[in-house]
């Protein structure tokens, strides 16, 4: 678990330079709240306190990573209660939660604080002025995320607002675009994901199927004409990379069987594109994962590992 935490630290540090020092504060508040709520929940429910396993720290970091950088500090605290107490411990504790706790909390915050959660996007900083957003009234400076611009105004507006087409990919890949705290830097997220792959903590099945489906479906249906969408932009914007490498493949809430994982990943990708293109929200990966989570055990019930050898003379 601590390896995952380590993989999330580089995007966090970078977010300070993109959105300012308050990303660090929000993340700290979120992590401390999650750990505190975990300890309190376990005490309250009479279970062994296991905060040292790092699970609550990961939830805290991921929760901060999926909320906008300009939200009030109260939000991650409420999110932590939702994620850890309701989303995890009331369902039986680690291993028994059906939904990804961090995403459950994000969905909860989006429903309860729709304004803060949909408008607190900050334009990226360019001159290391990491304290410039501190104490300012964020309403005055908020901007829109690329996916929101794409949804409401189209591709031309995205290019106009975020630079020429060739530049967009580079800037987005590095992370200098409006977005949630930890989702913007494709480079660092992919590096973290590749490290987890290298250490064999995760396998390629879910990230590849999620991102592949998003790219393919966006290319087919995401443009003004058939096969006119921009698959690369689709992967580099929103929370696609963070979701694919750090959230969709959460051990507890994803399927275990590899075939199940591929189907699950395709489902997450397809629902993400469906919400992005046809739904009310500009980004859909959060809901896509939450919708696929309860199907994990169903898929695992359908697809079983291949036994060494069947009994002679048919099934027994």
């Amino acid at each position: 678990m601590w390896t995952v935490v380590a993989c999330l630290v580089p995007p966090l540090i970078l977010s300070v330079f993109i959105f300012g020092i308050q990303t660090l504060i929000i993340t700290a508040v979120s992590v401390v709240s999650c750990v505190a709520v975990e300890a309190a929940s376990q005490k309250l429910l009479g279970r062994r306190v296991t905060v040292s396993d790092g699970s609550a720290v990961i939830t805290g970091m991921l929760l901060a990573f999926v909320i906008p950088p300009g939200v009030p500090y109260l939000l991650p605290v409420l999110g932590a209660v939702m994620a850890i107490y309701i989303g995890k411990h009331l369902l039986g504790g680690i291993g028994y939660n059906i939904f990804n706790p961090a995403l459950l909390a994000r969905a909860f915050l989006l429903a309860t604080f729709p304004v803060a959660m949909t408008s607190s996007w900050l334009p990226p900083l360019h001159d290391l002025a990491i304290f410039s957003y501190l104490g300012t009234h964020v309403d005055a400076i908020t901007t829109a995320t690329p996916l929101a611009v794409l949804k409401t105004q189209g591709m031309a507006a995205v290019v106009e607002q975020f630079g020429a087409t060739s530049n967009i990919y580079t800037t987005f890949f590095l992370g200098w675009r409006p977005g949630a705290i930890g989702e913007t830097s494709g480079l660092l997220i992919v590096l973290g994901g590749l490290y987890l792959l290298y250490r064999r903590y995760i396998t390629w099945h879910i990230p590849v199927s999620v991102l592949g489906t998003i790219a393919l479906l966006t290319w087919c249906f995401g443009g003004p004409t058939w096969f006119g969408g921009d698959p690369l932009l689709a992967i580099l914007s929103g929370g696609a990379l963070l979701g694919a490498f750090f959230m969709a493949n959460d051990y507890v809430t994803c399927p275990t069987d590899k075939t199940s994982q591929l189907i699950y990943g395709v489902g997450v990708g397809a629902l993400t594109v469906l919400i992005r293109l046809k739904g009310g929200y500009p980004e859909g990966i959060c809901y896509a994962i939450l919708l696929m989570n309860p199907l994990s055990s169903v898929l695992d019930g359908w697809f079983k590992p291949k036994r060494f050898a069947a009994p002679a003379g048919g099934a027994k």
């Binding site: 062994r48 680690i94 507890v252 275990t256 036994r307 060494f308 050898a309 009994p311």
Partner: protein
């Protein structure tokens, strides 16, 4: 999907050019064999008392054929199976019988055993070479049974049954298991080095009994000296009627499991619940083959055992030849006692063995090691809930779902676990080894087997 295909093709190509192995599951625990691998087998002095457990093998336990106060010579029959599957039991030493007592047992808690008091006044027995080549198949089989030979690699299955496969399953290959994939243990390794000719001659006996000529010896590649010694002995003993070859195996636990070994060497898959003869194979451990050699060539029954005593918790690690019935406490005393680091004693290998809580526990024919492990050789952290990471499913060489079994057992639904394949589990322990939540998955599997109905 294409990706899956590519990786599988790559593995296939890779395997074709390298060592033999089984494709699914398995783990690579630290081998920890260096402590004893270079130590020659030493014969432990006979202790004053022996506890010979009556149920040494799979099948019915022996009934004592000697009464209290009877005097027996080394190798005399002291127990017989009257009804059902089994082999006779022999006196490991010249002794006076004290009677039947309850003995501690690593798995069954306690088991009836014959208590023997060593009697040095009874003359020793000498074995000399017999001309076995003239014996017929049935005579050889009878001798194997009479010498009390069982699979001493661990399972304890009576060998004469394995050597007499059902006629509707023609056997064409004999596999000798010299994988010794369990960490720490070097007993088979040392026997292959020191008794390579005896093992190969034992293989010829088995080939004759089975009426076949193809014998393949599988040895994990971490024992190059044993591979060299066995290759040399095999080449010298091979003839048109006995083609004995050595096959180096990839180091991967559980390479020495019967079904995995057969797949590694022949590519054949033994169906669930079936015996190896279903795919035309008979497997014997190299140490069992040595015992068969002793029984047929020397006429010496099985009542001694080469075992490894190792771990940071014993003063002097060793490969010992001990009498069946020797108490662990006598072994500890002989090897200079335990060290202060001792935290856990395991009878058998670290992956499949059982922790023991007393030293007054006797060695049986199937004991291959006693390990005295220090705190840093074991994991005593408490286990937590299953996080469904699926590592146990990946590691299981049989393609089972240990995590589901454990969850069901915890929820008191062990009766529903047959669907996850509990009865195909041979308790190799790969699942528990990889579990990041430290769950005792093998123990859950065993519980499920006891409670579920097949």
């Amino acid at each position: 999907m294409c990706f899956v295909f590519l990786t599988q093709t790559r593995e296939l190509l890779f395997d074709m050019t390298s060592l033999l192995t089984f494709p699914k599951g398995g783990v690579h625990p630290p081998e920890a064999k260096e402590r004893t691998a270079s130590l020659a087998i030493e014969t432990m002095p006979v202790p004053d008392e022996l506890e010979v457990i009556l149920g040494q093998h799979i099948g019915a336990p022996c009934t004592p054929t000697v009464a209290a106060k009877a005097e027996v010579r080394e190798g005399d029959i002291i127990g017989e199976v009257t009804k059902g599957l089994g082999v006779p039991l022999h006196a490991p030493v010249a002794a006076t019988v004290k009677g039947v007592f309850q003995s501690a047992h690593p798995m069954r808690v306690s088991a009836p055993a014959l208590l023997l008091v060593t009697n040095s006044e009874i003359p020793a027995v000498r074995y000399s070479r017999l001309d076995w080549e003239l014996c017929g198949r049935d005579e050889l089989l009878k001798k194997v049974h009479g010498a009390g030979i069982i699979g001493i690699g661990g399972a304890g299955f009576p060998s004469h049954v394995k050597l007499n496969p059902p006629p509707d399953n023609p056997v064409d290959t004999l596999i000798l298991n010299g994988a010794e994939c369990e960490p720490y243990i070097t007993a088979d390794h040392r026997q292959m080095l020191e008794f390579s000719q005896e093992i190969v001659e034992g293989a010829r006996v088995i080939l004759k009994i089975l009426g076949i000529k193809d014998c393949r010896i599988g040895i994990e590649n971490n024992k190059p000296d044993a591979i060299a010694a066995m290759t040399k002995a095999a080449a010298a003993a091979s003839s048109a009627s006995a083609q004995i070859t050595v096959h180096p195996l990839k180091v991967k636990y559980p390479q020495g499991s019967e079904k995995q070994l057969i797949q590694s060497i022949t590519g054949r898959k033994v169906p669930a619940f079936a015996l190896p003869s279903a795919v035309g194979v008979v497997v014997h451990n190299v140490s069992t083959t040595k015992a068969i050699h002793d029984a047929i060539v020397l006429g010496k029954p099985l009542y001694e055992k080469v075992m490894t005593v190792s771990g940071k918790g014993i003063s002097r690690p060793a490969n010992l030849l001990v009498k069946v019935g020797t108490r662990v406490s006598d072994i500890v005393a002989y090897l200079g006692g335990v060290t202060p680091a001792l935290a856990k004693i395991v009878m058998g290998g670290p992956m499949m063995g059982f922790a023991i809580s007393t030293l007054d526990i006797p060695v049986t024919k199937t004991t291959s090691s006693v390990l005295f492990l220090a705190e840093d050789e074991i994991d005593t952290r408490p286990h937590s809930q299953c996080i469904r990471c699926g590592w146990c499913v990946e590691a299981c060489p049989m393609g089972l779902e240990p995590k589901e079994v454990a969850i069901h057992v915890e929820a008191d639904r062990a009766q529903d676990t047959a669907q996850f394949g509990v009865f195909e589990c041979f308790e190799c322990g790969c699942c528990a080894y990889v579990c990041p939540a430290k769950r005792p998955l093998v123990q859950f599997m065993r519980l499920a087997k006891m409670k579920a109905k097949r």
